[in-house]
C-alpha cells in the first residue's frame, strides 16, 4: 500500500528499505519528512492535532501519487501521514520516491508534497496555553502547487 494514514510514528530507514525492496533498477531515493514546530503564532505549542476525512484522504493521496508516476520516470512512491495528537518535534508526514536517476526522484517528491498540502483533506489544530485554534491555509502553499501546472517535468 503506497499510501498510509496512521496515528503511530514511522521509521524512515524501515520505510525506505521496504520501498526500495532491493530493486536494482533503483539508483536514487528521495525522501521528505515534515515535522511539528514549537511555535503557534506567538505562543509555545503544546499539541498539534491532525484530523482527516477517511476515505477521501486515501483516494486523493493515491491520485496524487498516480499523477507523479505519469509525469516522472519513477519506480515507486510512498506517502505516510500521521493523524491524532502530535507534539513539537514529532514527525507528521513522510514522502519517499525511488527512481533510476535523482532528477525524477527529487522532482516527484517535491510535487507530491506540494499537491498534498493543497489537495489532501487534512486539517491542523494548534493548542497552546491560550487555547485551541484551527490553522489557516496559506497562499504560499497554493502558489507552490500551481507552479507544477506550468513547469514541464524534469528528466522526462
Amino acid at each position: 500500500m503506497p499510501v498510509r494514514i496512521q496515528e503511530a510514528d514511522f521509521d524512515l530507514t524501515t520505510e525506505l528499505a521496504a520501498l526500495r525492496a532491493g530493486d536494482p533498477r533503483v539508483g536514487a531515493v528521495a525522501a521528505f519528512i515534515g515535522t511539528v514546530r514549537d511555535v503557534a503564532g506567538n505562543a509555545p505549542l503544546a499539541t498539534m492535532t491532525l484530523e482527516h476525512y477517511p476515505g477521501m484522504t486515501e483516494r486523493s493521496l493515491t491520485a496524487i501519487v498516480d499523477i507523479a508516476k505519469s509525469r516522472w520516470d519513477i519506480v515507486d512512491a510512498l506517502v505516510i501521514h500521521r493523524v491524532g495528537a502530535l507534539r513539537p518535534a514529532d514527525q507528521i508526514v513522510l514522502v519517499g520516491v525511488t527512481s533510476a536517476h535523482r532528477g525524477d526522484a527529487f522532482a516527484a517528491c517535491e510535487f507530491i508534497m506540494d499537491y498534498l498540502k493543497t489537495r489532501a483533506p487534512f486539517w491542523k489544530k494548534e493548542t497552546t496555553a491560550e487555547g485551541s485554534r484551527w490553522v489557516e491555509a496559506r497562499a504560499s502553499d497554493d502558489e507552490a502547487a500551481a507552479r507544477w501546472q506550468s513547469e514541464p517535468p524534469r528528466g522526462a
Binding site: E51, Y53, M113, L116, P121, F122
Partner: protein
C-alpha cells in the same frame, strides 16, 4: 451508491465547520431544484445564523461529492455524500 436512503443527501462537516455547526453531519432532503453544489450552499446558508456566516459567498469553503473535490457547478443527487470543509492544512 451509498448505503443511505436514496432520497436523502448525507452531509459531512469537517474541522472548523464541524465546530461551527456543532455537528459532524446530517441527512437532508433538499428541494428538487437543489441540484448543484452552488445551490446546495445557498440553500444551507438560507438557514441563517452560523450557516449564513460560514457559507457566505466570500468565505473559503471546499466541497467534495462522494470523496471527489467538487466545483460550484458539480451535480449533487439523492444518495450522494457531500462534505463541507475549510481549505486543507496538512503536511
Amino acid at each position: 451508491m451509498r448505503d443511505n436512503p436514496v432520497d436523502t443527501l448525507t452531509l459531512v462537516y469537517l474541522a472548523r465547520l464541524r465546530d461551527a455547526f456543532g455537528a459532524s453531519g446530517e441527512a437532508v432532503r433538499p428541494p428538487a431544484d437543489v441540484a448543484t453544489i452552488a445551490s446546495l450552499r445557498a440553500w444551507l446558508a438560507a438557514r441563517g445564523g452560523v450557516w449564513a456566516t460560514e457559507l457566505a459567498p466570500e468565505r473559503a469553503v471546499r466541497f467534495a461529492v462522494n470523496h471527489d473535490i467538487a466545483q460550484p457547478e458539480t451535480a449533487v443527487r439523492p444518495g450522494d455524500e457531500v462534505a463541507l470543509f475549510p481549505p486543507v492544512t496538512g503536511g
